[in-house]
Symmetry: C2
Subunit: 200 residues, 2 copies
Amino acid sequence: MVGGSERIERLIQELAKMPTIGRRTAQRIALYLLKTPEEEVRSLVDAIVEMKDKVGYCSECGAISESETCSVCTDPRRHRSVICVVEEPGNVMGIERTGEYRGLYHVLHGRLSPLDGIGPEDLSIDRLARRIEDLGIDEVIIATNPTVEGETTCNYIAGVVKSLGVRVTAIARGVPMGSDLDFADELTLARAIQGRGDIK
Amino acid sequence: MVGGSERIERLIQELAKMPTIGRRTAQRIALYLLKTPEEEVRSLVDAIVEMKDKVGYCSECGAISESETCSVCTDPRRHRSVICVVEEPGNVMGIERTGEYRGLYHVLHGRLSPLDGIGPEDLSIDRLARRIEDLGIDEVIIATNPTVEGETTCNYIAGVVKSLGVRVTAIARGVPMGSDLDFADELTLARAIQGRGDIK
């Protein structure tokens, strides 16, 4: 390992396993950590260890939680008749930041993907059906990603929810705010036209 | 911290301090670490802690080293009459990967930047002068970055080396290999023309 070190190399390899981090970025981060004061690196390491030790998923909805049941599921002020279905825990954080939604969540922890061998039994869809019945839900809002797999997952879940006789909706797909129509792809623009709403 | 957790938030903030990592990437990495098996996260943490514990900089040249003096400085097969001056330890790793250079290094750990209050006394330029004399160097190759600050640093060091009566060279600036001339900026193209070489 001329010019470097085996340990730096090992760290670069570990860092490069993380999403969005390529080898070049991993090297940059490793060298940054090498020159960063001990206490600051300690603080990062502690944050990782403590998160891993104390944070998990809500046993009810699957969102991030530091206790058995998350702060949404235990909050008596949340509307307990609406469930929003998302693919990943991060999506809950995103929707919460909007402040637009006051109902409950259901996190699938994935999406239907036949090519990767991920079927309905690998997602928590049975549990979703049970929650819908137990809680007496009257609307399920599906907020899966606007991708092929997300749409497939959306359609599958919509079928399950409809068979329970419950209203099912999907978040709007359309042109993102602050963008320029000229830069919207055809599919997005087509969905925006299909999903047009009356101007009140 | 509705929908998330204080500990996830703290980790996101720690991760976002690292170079190239914005808040969005930091969140993605934090959620990736949350769902990654314990052993794998342990392996990352161990790599950070061990690197921090065992890796440092060579007391001679300033390159990365797991011992007092690095593997380049102690290698009897390296040409001890040439020194290549670089800004950061990562640059040594890059040059070593080319296999083109067999001399010694000198790492500045920075660059002249009057706006940030970084002057010659903050870089290891005095030590470079001492090494040039002690080792009886007969060529100093300057490989600072092709930026305004890098060029300023290069010019300053060139002055110091010349005053010692030693030959000083700079790595070529020009169009990068595998690129298209149409995409080269004017400054790069101008330097490529100025630095043209005879075809042998």
